[in-house]
Symmetry: C4
Subunit: 327 residues, 4 copies
């Protein structure tokens, strides 16, 4: 109930902001509106956007296990032997990465969703607080950096709840959105999230727009995540250079924006503290943000705001592909 | 016999369309004809094209086995454990990928060849129907997503026939072209296809033009497929970014188009539902289509139309490199 | 003795040709001479070039063993099971690749060195003859596609000699230059080559210019090969796109050309039948050739001509790093 | 004590040079000062720079063990079998790579830090001397190319000291900075370095500026190294082409330079003899240097000069994340 009221309020603010934006010549981030061709006709998002973009900013540093994936982990050291350069690589996320991202979001007045690992917030409480204080969404990402798909219902519930509680204690914000480690939820995850009062999860890449899925008969929102515009997948996994990442964003944007004239479209982007927070990646992201500003009707939004905006909208599609698990 | 008549008819339509195109200023897709330098002199394709381009649109989603290749499969889960994000990645092909491609082909009036896995059509009959209804070629790609090279003659025949029958029941179209899983046919495959009345297969990359090969003494067409312009090979396998894919297409086009002035040349492109159907890849493909429109004499064709156009042409080369298997 | 006389003759022709080039406005390939700034002052190559570029064109198709590296070989089939698409991928080199390269070299009047596997020439004699008839260097690359580093002296001698003899029988040309499989010669290879009357080998990447090494007290030429400008290393191994290959060539050229004003510099490029012979790679190579034509004093040469030009030149450096093997 | 005096002297020279630069129109390397917008306001580096760039030039050739990483090492030969092309690939670093880099640094008046493996200097003393004679920093990189993380305190001390002594004997310079093999120091490394009189180490990538860490209660400098702008990581490891490397440098520079207006920022670059010393990479680096010259307040510095400049500066941050090892 509390969530619903917050939701209505936030939806209102979003719409309000959008209308404000429409009265300015050019705004930083949010929505850009000085354009060659104004968007006309039917709108597919309740807030009138032609394209909604949502950034996930993962904060995980300090929560990683020994030997966690890093540029050093392909030739692992024996168990118990500290991999000092790898550990220093991780610390970069807390020292530099998140703060660099926060600076960028602030410059363009963008609010993002931050998936925070419980033990990362414990290790770097000032970073977690900075995220919350800047108005970004505090979302959950597990108590520790650990597999979730292999836990029992009770263990998974404890694991998720503990992470939410820890982060709430530090930031004052209670998460309503969830991201599993490597997107790999268990068959029980949505039921666990529902029991804990979550509004949505992101670990699904089957659509380019949010959708509803039934969990034990009730609506649960899915705000699709991305592996296409994902720094860990492309930069660390595929070994792309930051200019390739930038071009990927532009190509995807160009297409989704065009499609946004005839259907509801959302673009998802993922940046991790120690990867997306590097200087060249932030340069790429800034170039991308500027690129989107040339178009009208582009809105960057937190995922909780998106969930609240469409969860009761009759035009939001329903997809029960995982019905057998969610009964 | 039925095929031959259809073939004559379709060949006629193609030639007719080409002549029509020649009377318009600029056409979308098909063949572009407003150009700096008109093509003169000898033609190497019966329809007068300087370059024939053929797109394969694989529809496989829903047919994949547990643990099938995905961005998640390099760290596989234990057998029996559902890999939920991987499954959602596959569903994208049926939810978004094929429809996005169909929109693009329609916009440029291009007809493609769709290799459809039998169980994919069973799982997403509306997608299979949409492909057929838009006038694209319904071609075969096995009953399920499974190895074909290790089957006995009888098993292989059943596997191919079952796939064709299933898709025909749903779409009303009977396949005459074949694509094996990962191109890996068995030594019997061409005999199996001949027995089932197929006109051609594509699992050969030895030429840049169609050719005839003798199967049990009779002509069988080979319409070469590609691994050079193949989304699964380059995007998932080689980890290219979509702009690299676009440049590859342009470089290949530039050379083959030039060669098309002095010999018969065909360019083959492959897009899979969940990979080529992503927004950035469709943007790349659209940029490529526009690029080809600057040249005269470029025709996008279905592979069955290509087979029918050249199967009885005396200028079509014969290559019996696999004679020992096809006797 | 015969070689030395040929050598003197060829050196003469090369110098003669270069002087001729200097009298024309612009020539195709060879050497370009219409330029902003004419090269002045000291020359470091006997023929007055500022940069010598040498292309290796490997012809190996038909010589490959079962399961040889291909886009399919990472998931090998059981021994004895033919990998039909992989075999068709190899045939492309003989059907299309070499001929496409020959067309390009002819268009720009470039002579290259072709390293020919004995069994490839046996399988495609018309291809081997076409290479020789166009004036390209017929160089040796082993009797079959096989490891050379693990052979006894006698076996290695037989292996090299058999390859030379087979190719000579078909093309009428006797090789004087050698390239081992994957550059991996044995400690005996240079002694074997010397015994067989070879002038040079290429399996060394330690310098950007030719050098002399002592083999059993006598001079032996090393004309350095490349893994930096090598299609198999970059396209198949590193998964570059052809535009990356083109940019690599331009960057390397820019630097070596500049250095060529103050020292002797050579640039080596490697193209294999089935890889460099693909349309997009030939497009890249043609763009590169055009790029080099904007500079004065660039000469494309066969490696035997280079060896003969510098083998008796006092300015040719000597490097005996492998002395312990070559005593 | 000797170090401190040297330090004061060098700091003075640096500041002096910077002021001199400010009086010239355009200087090669060092600091560029002819610019659109002069830097105003608060400075964050003692020498007034807006961004300090430091290049590491690793000289390792000749020190590598059998089977060391190379383009050939993924398919290793049996132990004892010499991998001749791999060895020639390494020799390139001593024959061409370092000299090519020295030419570039000289052209732009840049001083770099050279991490020299002891046995490399023994094998190529003239290369080690050339580095020292050009005014570059002679820094330590171990006695041989060997793991350091698994050595006892005594063995590690011997290993580091022996490397420093050997190089000092050849070059006349005693190292005060350290780089471990693959950055993988042991928990004892900083204590070992302190005992041997070192000023700083580089094997930490947790900050974009130098920092102080306490080692047994005393200050020890960390001048962060890089894996983002590292030729071995990106070119050999990630298979980037040199143009990708160049774009990475530009993107990183753009962001760090901008940040340099409001905080102290340092950019680290790493080039290895046989990789960064290749022609295309030097072309990329030269393009990057020219790119930085368009901005004011950019200084290329040796790492010892950086350490000395900030080690006693009250604005230099302290980070004791590894306190448990350094007590």
């Amino acid at each position: 109930m509390k969530y619903l009221r917050q939701s209505a309020l936030m939806l209102f603010s979003t719409v309000f902001l959008v209308s404000c934006f429409n009265n300015k010549d050019r705004i930083k981030g949010g929505i850009s509106n000085q354009n060659e061709t104004p968007t006309k006709g039917k709108k597919y998002w309740p807030n009138g956007a032609q394209l909604v973009i949502s950034v996930s900013m993962q904060f995980e540093t300090g929560g990683q296990p020994e030997g966690a994936e890093s540029p050093f982990s392909s030739t692992p050291l024996p168990a118990g032997q500290p991999d000092l350069p790898a550990e220093s690589w991780y610390r970069y996320g807390g020292n530099e990465g998140i703060y660099r991202m926060l600076d960028l979001w602030k410059k363009y007045n963008i609010k993002v969703t931050s998936h925070i690992v419980g033990t990362a917030a414990e290790k770097y409480p000032e970073v977690a607080k900075a995220i919350a204080n800047e108005g970004h969404e505090v979302a959950a990402h597990g108590f520790t950096w650990d597999n979730q798909w292999n836990k029992s219902y009770a263990d998974e519930l404890y694991f998720v709840k503990e992470g939410v509680d820890v982060v709430q204690k530090i930031t004052g914000k209670r998460a309503v959105g969830y991201n599993s480690n490597w997107l790999r939820r268990s068959p029980n995850t949505l039921k666990v999230l529902q029991e804990l009062g979550f509004l949505y999860h992101i670990d699904d890449v089957s659509h380019d727009e949010p959708f509803i899925t039934k969990v034990q008969g009730k609506n649960f929102m899915v705000i699709p995540y991305t592996i296409r515009n994902n720094d860990i997948v492309n930069i660390e996994g595929k070994h792309w250079s930051p200019d390739q990442f930038l071009t990927q964003l532009k190509f995807e944007f160009d297409r989704l924006y065009e499609e946004g004239a005839s259907k509801r479209r959302m673009m998802s982007i993922s940046f991790h503290d120690r990867i997306g927070g590097a200087p060249a990646m932030i340069h790429a992201m800034e170039e991308f943000i500027k690129y989107t500003q040339k178009k009208q009707g582009v809105v960057f939004m937190r995922k909780d705001d998106i969930a609240k905006m469409v969860m009761n909208d009759p035009n939001t599609p329903v997809d029960n592909s995982e019905e057998k698990y969610n009964k």
